[in-house]
Symmetry: C2
Subunit: 386 residues, 2 copies
């Protein structure tokens, strides 16, 4: 026993939200000797094994009672309201990431404003409070643009491409009905050549470690495939992306894992698309393809422990998401068939009821030849599609 009465390293981490990101923290927590407790939204969620409580994360009393039993509170998602986060901080709870950082993940207008102050590369954007302002932005940007609700969007929800102010009419109506007023975010429609993601871990003490920048392939607004590191990426690209990630983590005071989604343009620029302050789908490859997975790194970071090495264990890693399909018959037989045909594939599953389009698992593969690795991962994942 050490002076704090701890055996080994029995730090207690409390995770708010019982989804797959919380679930995937369980494995590294067990290996690190970190006790993990989850406040789940309901029974039987993905992280049920560690769910020590079930309750509403929007209720300050529920969250405070949960927080009292742990050393640090962190998150499966970014939806905990600011007033609940502030109540935790006021009660002396260590919260990582904290409310000051999380508000930039919760409000895309705040995020754009702050990144602009910091001189980060991003698409042209504006806050528009009505159709006229949106029309003016469209006129100045070739007649098309991306409109986003500043709050509440994920996986492509709350995002639309419009070519006239009519395309956002219902959102403006909702804004007008909201007593608080407000604005929509409009961004230029970037003609990107591909999408990238840069992950960075940062501790409360200020230590920072970047992962290799990866290429993400989206389908229907949802991440479908990740190639790590981003193929054909120059050393300059990798260094620039890492620098952008590190500067944002520092500038926004992020603690834990940060994911910066990026557009790469034909003229070799990168522009910040979205931020996520938690483990992220673009980093699932690291579970098998990096020395330290993003889930272990997130635990180390929020506990203010030294960060682990982010080096890849092989030249190439590929992650393919498994989405629930229209026909779900015999999923356990499909798993067995995929395992039999692809013993090299690393299959991860979230214990979630499949529904069309719902992320229910992913497959990782890694190796020396990118084509082989892509083939292996896609072929194994194909057993679960359709």
């Amino acid at each position: 026993m050490d002076p704090n009465g701890r055996t080994a390293m029995t730090y207690r981490v409390g995770v708010i939200g019982g989804g797959q990101l919380a679930r995937m923290m369980i494995a590294p927590a067990v290996e690190l000797g970190v006790e993990i407790r989850v406040l789940a939204e309901q029974e039987g969620m993905a992280a049920a094994l560690a769910a020590s409580a079930v309750g509403d994360y929007r209720d300050a009393d529920t969250v405070l009672a949960f927080a009292r039993e742990v050393d640090v509170v962190t998150f499966d998602h970014e939806h905990v309201p600011q007033q609940v986060l502030r109540a935790l901080v006021d009660a002396g709870v260590a919260v990582h990431p904290g409310p000051d950082a999380l508000r930039y993940a919760q409000d895309k207008l705040l995020m754009r404003t702050r990144l602009q102050e910091m001189g980060m590369p991003q698409p042209d954007w504006a806050a528009v409070t009505g159709p006229d302002e949106l029309a003016a932005f469209l006129d100045a940007h070739g007649g098309r643009a991306v409109v986003k609700t500043p709050r509440g969007g994920y996986d492509g929800k709350g995002v639309r491409v419009v070519s006239s102010p009519d395309g956002a009419a219902d959102w403006f109506t909702a804004l007008a009905e909201d007593a608080g007023g407000g604005a929509l975010l409009v961004e230029e429609r970037v003609e990107f050549t591909r999408e990238l993601a840069q992950q960075v871990a940062r501790t409360p003490s200020g230590a920072v470690r970047a992962y290799p920048v990866v290429e993400t392939v989206q389908r229907d607004g949802v991440c479908a495939e990740v190639l790590a590191p981003a193929p054909s990426g120059s050393a300059r690209l990798a260094a620039t992306a890492a620098e952008v990630g590190e500067r944002i983590a520092e500038g926004l005071g992020v603690t834990g894992m940060l994911a910066v989604e990026l557009f790469e343009t034909a003229d070799d620029r990168i522009l910040v698309n979205e931020l996520a302050m938690r483990p992220h789908n673009s980093g699932h490859w690291s579970q098998d393809g990096a020395v330290t997975s993003q889930f272990e790194q997130h635990l180390r970071a929020v506990l203010d422990l030294p960060l682990g090495d982010t080096s890849p264990v092989a030249p190439w890693s590929v992650m393919i998401n498994i989405l629930g399909g229209p026909s779900e018959g015999g999923l356990s037989e499909r798993f067995a068939a995929a395992m039999a045909q692809h013993p090299y594939a690393r299959i991860h599953t979230y214990g979630k009821e499949p529904r069309p389009g719902r992320k229910v698992g992913h497959v990782n593969a890694f190796g020396a030849d990118l084509d082989d690795v892509v083939y292996d991962a896609r072929a194994a994942a194909a057993f679960f599609q359709g």
Copy 2:
């Protein structure tokens, strides 16, 4: 949902015994989507997170009640009595490894007899029922030999080097007092150059996969360090060891993981020392150093799922055990210091109260240069010693 009402792959595995081997099955179970339940000997053991029951594994009713809630029963240790195992099988429970295989791990005389029938390479041995027989064996083997109690030994317990029958006098007395009678096992003292271990997974359907043979370094009868694969091992050595492992797994009907501890002799023979029918300390390197860890492989095997790839992810892996020392102050600070100095080291801890000599965790490292990897692993582990 598939026809069995399973979402994804919600097989349920029940593990008897709540030690670190059960604990280390939790992480791959979560990732595979396998539900894991543990029957622990007491509260607060290493595998507490998955402990759905606490009870005595020697009591058939306790074990049967536990077994009814799972699809297959497996083990953290080999101490479940045969009559309890038979009661499970009689009740229609899938038990892997089964009682017919486990009796060879539970009784070293049975094991030696069976391996001799199979023509496996092993040290000279005999069953001795009294001092005279032991004296005769000593005379025939240079005056020194290894005496073992056939049942109940582990980590060097129940094993003695003797140079006279007096050295086993108390064990003979105990045998005489035991109404069932019996014999001690005596083995020639092999002049080995080093110790090796061969791990093999086998499914109930008969699929078999061998891991690379490894070198194990013992101190005071306890595994201290493992080098994977065994350095300076010829292709012939690797093939011979794998064949011995596979033949034993098949010949003894082992299901799940089998570890075969081997002596390598100066004249390039390998001789079978001990068997373990479960994940084994000699395979902890595979958690970070192989595509499929022994813990995931054990789950796949006992569920009769296809086995995963056993290839190493790097040319060399090294595992160093962390033993509780006389001074335990500030273990959590030591963890942080080890992490800070060795971000590449993979630290695993078992959530156990440290006691001198007790295994409380291990460190893995892997990479391209054996000397570097050994250095890294030893240097990180050194933070926890003494």
